[in-house]
Symmetry: C2
Subunit: 275 residues, 2 copies
């Protein structure tokens, strides 16, 4: 497989300085965007999250038109791929101190599509719970930042190729998210997804699914979901920008059905994506 | 000021791949070592911590002799400097998944000494409390890992050049550490320092000070220290490998004296360092 096409601050390149604060401290944020037929999906939503993340980290946000141009340049020939945008605080500052005027580093990279089988959407996936807990940190909660050791450690817990995702809890045993996905459950026809005010990533697909549910008249609730409650969920599904929606057909050896709410959302999302 | 001298995987260089997991996820650890008269201080202690950090992150540890050789090469001509060693999981793995056989990236860099005035040791420094809390995460507690957004955000809270350090608490308002230092208080002649089992970095100088205290017959206690208790501390001091020991002469507008226990430890450490 060929490597990704990469632009570093607008120029073809493959490297960053070892002094970049992204490498030194994970001082930055990223977006992972599905590319279909030469276009990044849900571009505006990704750009809005990127801007809000930059603001929370007090990072100057990259120019939107410039990013769109660079992304377009990489994506135009791609039938299916994944675009990753990384923005860091660049080089500068003594120690942790923020530079007076940050000169951010901007990396835009197009990767081949991961090539997940279609059965993951049609029939569902197998999932497990991870022992690794998510850090409790309201200051960074919701952000797609570059401090991802929680996820790395959690993903290191299994190598069974038939298990597609590991779910992570907080220290209080509330179910929060998967290593690379958000989690939804269906109960009594309503859609429930964890509150992410203390940890977790506010996924773009999570937001889209919540919006679609509202449009379809499906009741939604964002709240603390104890891990034990997963056992009695009627339906479970996972979301992220690249996979869309994956029903969970098995979690920790327990079977779940691909129910009507999940099926309906997959259907509506597919229409949205091909519009 | 000239930039640092850097070896990347043993070769003079200044860059790493944007695909390096250090840049993508902060997936790695580091050491910051004081260099005096051509030699890195407390080398064995730093190497022991690096090895233990690699083990906890399931990273293959770099060869000790190789690191010593590379460090020696950079340091031999340095009268005073700071050596930083970064080890990441290198390139590889799809998403967060750990590569089957990691090929770590090893960065060894020599920086100029920060040039803090001697008065910081002799007379003490001014400190403040940060609003930013430390993430609660026992899985990573103690490690000097590359996920340092907590510290970056905390350090971004002040720009007053006369304040040298910001102290950070956990969510329960226990005092844990400074953005770049460990914290000690003296009460009734005994030395107390926070328990770091849920967050914080197990500093090399913290370990040295605890050992010195024991040798001097000073009672030591490692425990939860509520932030409010700082007000009634007889002495407060900060430690890290580069600064050694800095007494705190002012914290949040309250004055503290440079007491006997702090003075004694500074004295003994100075002898140790010049032995």
């Amino acid at each position: 497989m060929a490597g990704p096409s990469i632009l570093v601050n607008g120029e073809p390149g493959e490297t960053v300085s070892v002094l970049d604060r992204g490498f030194q401290y994970g001082d930055g944020i990223f977006e992972t965007i599905r590319v279909a037929d030469g276009r990044p999906d849900f571009w505006e939503r990704h750009m809005a999250r990127l801007a809000s993340g930059c603001e929370r980290l007090r990072l100057p946000a990259p120019d939107g038109d410039l990013l769109r141009c660079e992304a377009g340049q990489l994506c135009e020939a791609s039938r299916a791929g994944v675009l990753k945008i990384v923005v860091t605080r660049g080089i500068g500052g003594r120690g942790y101190r923020l530079p007076e005027k940050a000169d951010p580093t901007r990396v835009v990279a197009l990767f081949a599509a991961p090539g997940y089988p279609e059965s993951f959407v049609r029939e569902g996936v197998r999932a497990r719970f991870c022992r690794a807990r998510l850090s409790d940190q309201p200051m960074l909660a919701g952000l797609k930042h570059l401090n991802r050791l929680d996820q790395v450690m959690a993903r290191g817990e299994w190598s069974d190729e038939t298990i597609q995702e590991g779910l992570m809890c907080d220290a209080a045993n509330n179910m929060i998210e998967g290593t690379m996905t958000n989690v939804f459950i269906v109960r009594g026809g309503a859609l429930h997804t964890p509150d992410l005010s203390r940890c977790g990533v506010l996924g773009i697909m999570r937001g889209i699914v919540l919006d679609l549910a509202q449009q379809l008249g499906i009741e939604t609730e964002i709240r603390a979901i104890p891990r034990d409650e997963m056992k009695s969920a009627a339906e479970i599904f996972l979301t992220n920008s690249v996979i869309g929606i994956w029903p969970v057909r098995e979690l920790e050896g327990r079977d779940y059905r691909l129910g009507d709410v999940t099926r309906k959302l997959i259907e509506v999302l597919a229409r949205l994506a091909t519009d």
